[in-house]
């Protein structure tokens, strides 16, 4: 297989949502001496961009997006450790993501994480039932510019406000933007608590995140 063919097939494995193929091709690429950064940019990123186009046109469904994202993630796990010291994958931003304290809802938050990852963000998922302080400390450690906080219950919504307040107390509010989501959440709530944005679903969350980090949507 030629180098061009490996890269094309790497992209196709993401488009087809075949994580096993993606990993095999990534290993093969390294064995053949391909530049891992080229493999990421011209293979995986090209592939995930195509998945995004197919989703935007209505041809692909959410599972296609997620499985495509998983294929990309699996191949990245092979290729990233092989990057040279001065090489770094281009990312749109670093995001800390989690579900607030008292709330065990996970699927929506995970879906947002998958979508953000697939669209070029580096996501640190801190999990569910997390107090505001955990979001803030994780953002500091990851050098994140975005926090995504999910709340699915009316009773846990005030936890999102606490995150905004604790960021202020920690002196990080200017560096870190806060986006919130969850079934009972509205733009009005985001405005009220001083969050930077609200997204209705995982697709809108990507658009919002891009907007918040200043990338054209």
């Amino acid at each position: 297989m030629s180098k061009e063919e490996i890269i094309t097939r790497l992209a196709q494995s993401v488009i087809d949502g075949e994580p096993e193929d993606a990993v095999e091709l990534a290993k093969q690429a390294l064995d053949e001496g391909l530049d891992p950064l080229v493999c990421i940019n011209q293979g995986l990123t090209a592939g995930i961009n195509r998945v995004g186009e197919l989703f935007a046109s209505g041809e692909y469904f959410l599972p296609d997006l997620i499985i495509g994202g998983e294929a990309m993630k699996a191949a990245l796990a092979v290729l990233e450790p092989a990057l040279a010291g001065d090489q770094e994958r281009q990312i749109l931003g670093r995001v800390v993501l989690g579900t607030v304290r008292g709330d065990l809802h996970e699927i929506g938050k995970t879906l947002v994480g998958t979508m953000l990852t697939a669209n070029g963000f580096l996501v640190t998922d801190i999990g569910i039932d997390k107090p505001a302080a955990d979001f803030v400390s994780a953002a500091r450690e990851a050098n994140a510019t975005l926090i995504g906080a999910s709340a699915l219950l009316t009773t846990t919504m005030p936890e999102q406000q606490k995150i905004v307040e604790e960021l202020k107390e920690a002196g990080l509010r200017d560096q870190v933007r806060v986006m919130i989501g969850g079934a009972p959440i509205t733009q009005g709530w985001a405005d009220k608590i001083g969050a930077d944005g609200y997204a209705e679903d995982a697709i809108s969350a990507v658009a919002l995140a891009k907007q918040l980090v200043g990338v054209p949507v």
């Binding site: 949502g17 995970t110 879906l111």
Partner: protein
């Protein structure tokens, strides 16, 4: 052309048990023998008389002995196929599927451009044939409206517009009279290639209405005899208005309606033994104040299902009735209510073919986007009739185990694979690709889909020779019939 998606019901609906079916058959035979049928056709009277029926020439009443009826009906095939002019359009009337067609034959249309009501025309027939060529819900095409821009040859122009704009089977419900029928047969021969191919793969069939109570239409049965002899499948539909043209009680209405239909089918078998024929009852109830036809009432739905069972009890295919809503506007509560009962009940009863999608105001008005609404109801019924998948693939135990407690199914290949084959109700639940929002008004969404089909779908054209032959037949018919 997207592939056909007939309804293949796993769920079954019956409103008559075997004893009740036997009662209706006995009552039908009684009516045929004792009361008789008005048959105002010299040719038909001669055929009946020659074969042992009691014929009163003066009153034109024919009384049929039960033996004659049973022998003739036993010649009528239970299964045969209707065909279009392309591969994949064959409809096997064998009890395994319900194939739906468009409604007909309206006389008004809301203009495609202005939206104003006007008399229907040939171009309406052509446009809707092209839309029907695209929709997977439409297995065969009834010319939806009358080609009123043509005179006595309008029914033949409707066929011309249909054959030129859909590869699917065409069923005429307007070609009446011996002469017009002969021209229609010639047109069908052109589409099929020759007379032998037309018999083997008929691209045309015909539906003819009886006249309730207990009468035949001369032009109708004389056309029917021409079709039967040529091998064109021909069906008869009784449309009794209970309380006015049939007993108000459902049992009697069905027995009388059945006598009309069966007498015509017997005639077809007498002139062309083994001819492919079908049966149809579309009964309803009289408005007790105006004597008008109530289009959506419970007794009608019951009779539709009963008609399907009675036909199969006689051992013949059946055309069921569905849709054809009374209301004046698309996308209303009334439209949904009127359409859903029979469009689900009739296929669950096992109707082989079913009319029909796309008209309003009791099948008189073409509202172009109406067919898109009916298409969505149709597919909903199609999925409902399929029932629950309890196969290994349907139970998906391996996937349940893989996801486990508290996980999700979005990242499963099984989910992706199944979603690809799912049908989604795009009108009532518009899918929303990124950066694009669907029009909020459902009628605008339906219209947008219709316009897209008209803009983008091209029917596989007839070859030039066939188009020219059809034109020559039309010109000959105009010289003879319009004169």
């Amino acid at each position: 052309m997207p592939g056909l998606e007939p309804i293949r019901p796993q769920l079954k609906l019956e409103v008559l048990n075997p004893d009740e079916l036997a009662s209706i058959k006995a009552a039908t035979l009684h009516v045929l023998e004792q009361v008789g049928i008005h048959v105002p056709s010299e040719r038909a009277l001669r055929v009946f008389a020659e074969r042992g029926a009691q014929v009163d020439r003066e009153s034109q009443i024919v009384r049929l002995p039960p033996g004659l009826v049973m022998d003739a009906m036993n010649l009528a095939p239970r299964s045969y196929q209707l065909c279009g002019r392309a591969a994949g359009t064959e409809l096997a009337l064998d009890g395994t599927a319900s194939y739906f067609c468009t409604d007909g034959c309206g006389v008004y249309a809301l203009d495609f451009e202005t939206g104003q009501q006007r008399a229907s025309c040939k171009d309406d027939v052509a446009k809707m044939a092209r839309v029907s060529d695209y929709l997977s819900s439409i297995a065969f095409y009834w010319p939806m409206v009358s080609a009123q821009d043509h005179a006595w040859t309008a029914p033949l122009h409707e066929l011309d517009a249909s054959f030129n704009n859909t590869v699917k089977h065409v069923q005429t419900e307007t070609v009446m009279g011996e002469k017009a029928a002969r021209y229609a047969v010639r047109m069908a021969e052109v589409i099929a290639g020759d007379a032998a191919d037309m018999r083997a793969r008929p691209p045309l069939s015909s539906l003819i209405c009886t006249i309730a109570p207990l009468g035949q239409d001369r032009q109708g049965i004389e056309a029917g005899m021409v079709f039967a002899e040529a091998g064109i499948p021909v069906g008869f539909m009784s449309m009794p208005n209970m309380g006015l043209t049939a007993p108000v009680a459902t049992g009697g209405a069905l027995a009388a309606a059945s006598a009309e239909v069966v007498s015509a089918m017997v005639l077809m078998q007498l002139v062309a033994p083994g001819a492919p024929t079908f049966y149809s009852i579309v009964a309803s109830v009289m408005d007790p104040h105006s004597a008008n036809y109530i289009n959506a009432i419970a007794e009608k739905y019951l009779c539709h299902v009963a008609g399907v069972q009675i036909a199969h009890d006689w051992g013949v295919p059946v055309l069921g009735g569905a849709f054809g809503a009374q209301n004046l506007e698309a996308a209303t509560w009334q439209h949904g209510r009127d359409s859903v009962y029979n469009s689900l009940m009739v296929p669950l009863a096992g109707a082989d073919i079913v009319v029909g999608l796309g008209l309003l105001r009791a099948s008189t008005l073409l509202v172009p986007e109406q067919i898109i609404f009916d298409d969505e109801i149709y597919h909903t019924c199609r999925i409902l009739a399929r029932g629950i998948d309890t196969s290994d693939d349907g139970l998906a135990l391996d996937v349940i185990a893989e996801v486990g407690p508290r996980g999700h199914y979005l990242a499963q290949r099984n989910t992706r694979q199944h979603l690809r084959s799912w049908w989604f109700p795009e009108l009532s639940h518009p899918q929303r690709p990124m950066h694009e929002s669907a029009p909020p008004d459902i009628r605008r969404r339906a219209r947008a889909k219709l316009d897209k089909i008209l803009r983008e779908h091209q029917t596989q054209p007839l070859d030039d020779a066939a188009t020219a032959e059809l034109q020559a037949i039309l010109e000959a018919a105009e010289r003879e019939l319009d004169a």
